[in-house]
């Protein structure tokens, strides 16, 4: 049975693909929306697989599934592995993912090259840690105040963005980072001696600190933060604001011409992303019980930029995957020293040079490349073989005819391989009656041909003299003589017609 099925698969069509997701037609599909989106889990379309004609169901959009599986994996694997190294690395990954998601709103959706992301996180972390140490606020208040501090920073960063753009804005924000760093490093309040500010309140109980339960709690909390930031990213990027920003990103003049107040949109996105970053800063202080000046270093900004670039600018999954790749290399291979940064650098370089939009853009780029090569090959093809060339095809109105021509050509190509001296000999010996499979296929093809220039047998004297003629296929127009050989044997004459047809087939 299995054998029969594979044989069918090898005979029908030239598609290499096999069904990936088969459903019976009767089964009802869940059509409920995924909450807060307009996607459903199973939205798709049914079609017959060209390979084996089985009914298959293709999903329109597999991304919800990838997200679900990816997120469950990201949550479960570090907890199941459970070593402290992996848990710490996973928490770093979650924190950086959250930051990168907010950064992506500015750098991807709005297309503004801001480097002040970490400065907002750092400022919020420092201020909340300081408030917690000196005024004893608890960690939920740290999160709330962190968000407020982020909002204030959003105003500070967003206002110059109304006037300055491009590299000049990047320089300005880099200046802000440097100002914060120098202030923090030299300020007595923020721990110039200890190299950081520590001792803030945390959501992890003191007894659990630096132990596996505490690390797991920390990771789960950071994971929830990523989920929250994914939600914010979606709300901004997938909704009206994201559309306005994308329009202004592509062309400010167009945006202005169609009445988009892109200054306001940019200011809003700065507020939103900075509030998110402030919240992350508050969380950072509550997780590490403080903050360190490393948050402001240029190296860190570069590393985070590498994450975004490797994943692909302008998409949430890019921020998360890029972060995962870089954090994995950076934290797991920590004993290799500078080599791991060199590896990250090479990945970044390769992605920039060869991938148009990061690791996650490779699939689309490959499909585009394959289509380009396909059409190049089609354009280069000089052999016609009865098939309509692309430029002829546009002139033919009946598109069915094009497919017939293509089919016919393929059929003839196949039949040519069947014609061997043995087959011809077989026909010579026995023109009529039962034949081998190959000969039968060839004869069937000949019989099915239209009347135009078709070789037929003409009986000059029934039973005694025969010759080969060709019909014109046009009513009222007489057949024409092909040659003047006269055959006395009917079988010999039939074989002569067969040879003529074979010759034409081989020459086509």
């Amino acid at each position: 049975m299995a054998n029969e099925k594979t044989s069918i698969k090898s005979l029908v069509g030239r598609r290499r693909w096999l069904p990936r997701f088969v459903l019976s037609g009767e089964r009802t599909l869940h059509r409920r929306y995924i909450p807060f989106t307009r996607r459903t889990w199973f939205q798709g379309y049914a079609k017959a697989n060209p390979r084996d004609l089985a009914r298959e169901y293709k999903l329109d959009d597999k991304r919800p599934w990838f997200w679900l599986i990816g997120l469950i994996g990201a949550l479960a694997i570090p907890i199941l592995v459970g070593t402290n190294l992996i848990l710490t690395a996973a928490t770093t990954f979650a924190l950086f993912s959250a930051i990168n998601l907010m950064w992506m709103l500015v750098i991807g959706t709005a297309g503004i090259f801001s480097l002040a992301t970490l400065a907002v996180v750092g400022a919020s972390a420092y201020l909340t840690a300081w408030l917690s140490i000196d005024y004893g606020i608890t960690w939920p208040m740290m999160l709330v105040l962190g968000t407020l501090i982020g909002l204030i920073f959003g105003v500070i960063i967003g206002l110059p963005a109304l006037r300055i753009d491009g590299l000049y804005f990047a320089l300005l924000t880099m200046g802000m980072v440097e100002l914060c760093r120098v202030y923090v490093v030299s300020s007595k309040t923020f721990g110039v001696v200890t190299g950081g500010l520590y001792g803030a309140d945390s959501f992890i109980p003191v007894a659990w600190q630096h132990h596996t339960p505490g690390l797991i709690l920390g990771y789960v909390a950071a994971f929830c933060l990523v989920l929250l930031m994914l939600g914010v990213y979606r709300l901004v990027n997938g909704q009206r604001l994201g559309l306005l920003l994308a329009t202004a990103r592509e062309s400010e003049a167009t945006a202005e011409a169609i009445g988009i107040n892109y200054h306001l949109a940019r200011f809003t996105v700065f507020l939103i992303s900075s509030a998110g970053l402030g919240l992350i800063g508050g969380f950072y202080a509550a997780y590490y019980r403080g903050a360190s000046p490393a948050l402001f270093s240029i190296d860190m900004v570069m590393l985070m930029f590498a994450m975004i670039v490797i994943g692909g600018i302008g998409r949430a999954e890019g921020a998360v995957v890029g972060t995962a790749v870089v954090v994995f290399i950076d934290k797991i291979f920590i004993e290799y020293g500078p080599i791991r940064l060199i590896v990250i650098g090479f990945i970044m370089l390769a992605v920039t040079l060869f991938a148009r939009n990061g690791l996650l853009g490779i699939r689309a780029q490959f499909i585009e490349f394959r289509n380009k090569k396909k059409s190049e090959r089609r354009a280069q093809r000089t052999e016609k073989g009865g098939e309509a060339l692309p430029e002829e095809a546009t002139e033919i109105r009946d598109k069915d005819h094009l497919y017939f021509l293509r089919f016919d050509k393929r059929l003839r190509d196949h039949l040519k391989t069947l014609i061997t001296p043995e087959v011809i000999e077989e026909h010579r010996v026995k023109p009529l009656g039962q034949h081998s499979d190959a000969l039968e296929r060839v004869l069937n093809y000949f019989r099915r041909a239209g009347g135009e220039n078709k070789y037929v047998l003409y009986e000059i004297k029934p039973g005694f003299e025969y010759k080969v003629i060709a019909t014109t296929g046009i009513k009222g127009l007489l057949p024409w003589d092909v040659d003047d050989v006269v055959y006395t044997d009917k079988n010999e004459a039939l074989h002569a017609v067969f040879l003529k047809r074979v010759q034409d087939l081989m020459e086509s």
């Binding site: 006037r163 300055i164 320089l171 200046g175 440097e178 930029f305 970044m348 370089l349 920039t352 148009r356």
Partner: protein
């Protein structure tokens, strides 16, 4: 302002000027913000140090090795970050990221090969002190100022009067127009990268008269070069010189009167003010013109 502050301000101005002009020329002719300039700087320092410890401590060897290392690194950057992507979509941002990656790879490779310890360069100008009336200056400061003024003057003359300089200026003004009159962008870009790399190598040796050679030595000069180039307005050599004067003297005076830790703070404060007043730098117009 005392004479010492003036002299160190002048010295910094010269070095930042050399770096900023490199960044500025690359941006306006190649449309690429070269973030690997800092790596070129650091690598040239190592090249000079290697030549000085292996062959001889004479000034010619040190300068020759530093400048040729810089030019070589510039050519490497040209092949990696410019040649393959310069006619592909999204070129400016990709070139920026590629040079950033080269910087990361290069600096970490230096760290890996030579270790984090700092290396001293020989004092190529000697270590004496010279008196001109009231003014006291070290040979190092003298040499730096004379050398960089000389090189920058020669560069401007070369850009203004030689055929290759004319080509570079044509590409800076309008790459398409230059291509239409038969100037090869690729050849010119190769020259520009080698030239600016050599300039970075020169700056590395001049700065290493007061500081040491280390893997991260390029970061601060790169930031300063970028600041100066952006402050002056990308693509304008005159603007870069004005920017270098402002930043160099601001740094010297802050260090003298407020203390070293406030240098970057004051500089960036000034930049924020200047950029808010003139969003495209002091002399910047070209950025707008480069948009396609």
């Amino acid at each position: 302002m005392d004479m010492f502050t003036l002299m160190s301000g002048l010295q910094l101005t010269c070095i930042y000027g050399i770096l900023a002009i490199g960044v500025s020329i690359i941006w306006s002719s190649l449309g690429m913000l070269n973030l690997a300039h800092g790596f070129t700087f650091a690598a040239s320092g190592y090249g000079a140090w290697w030549a000085a410890t292996t062959f001889s401590k004479s000034a010619w060897v040190v300068f020759g090795a530093g400048i040729s290392t810089g030019a070589l690194i510039g050519i490497v950057i040209y092949f990696v970050a410019f040649l393959y992507i310069h006619d592909r979509p999204n070129y400016p941002i990709r070139a920026l990221i590629a040079t950033m990656a080269i910087n990361l790879i290069g600096v970490q490779t230096l760290m890996w090969v030579f270790g984090p310890r700092m290396k001293p360069l020989p004092k190529v100008f000697g270590s004496g002190v010279m008196k001109l009336g009231d003014v006291i200056m070290t040979y190092g400061q003298m040499g730096t100022v004379v050398c960089s003024v000389g090189v920058l003057g020669a560069l401007l003359i070369w850009l203004g009067f030689s055929r290759r300089g004319l080509e570079i200026r044509a590409v800076m003004q309008n790459p398409e127009g230059a291509a239409l009159v038969g100037i090869s962008l690729r050849t010119t870009a190769l020259w520009v990268m080698a030239l600016t790399g050599a300039l970075a190598g020169l700056a590395a040796i001049l700065l290493s008269q007061t500081f040491y050679v280390s893997p991260y030595a390029g970061l601060q000069p790169l930031i300063k070069g970028l600041i100066v180039a952006l402050l002056g307005g990308l693509g304008s050599i005159g603007g870069a010189m004005i920017g270098a004067v402002i930043i160099g003297f601001a740094e010297a005076m802050t260090a003298a009167y407020l203390g070293g830790q406030y240098v970057l703070m004051v500089q960036f404060g000034m930049i924020i003010v200047i950029l808010l007043l003139r969003p495209r730098g002091i002399a910047g117009l070209l950025d707008e013109a480069r948009e396609e």
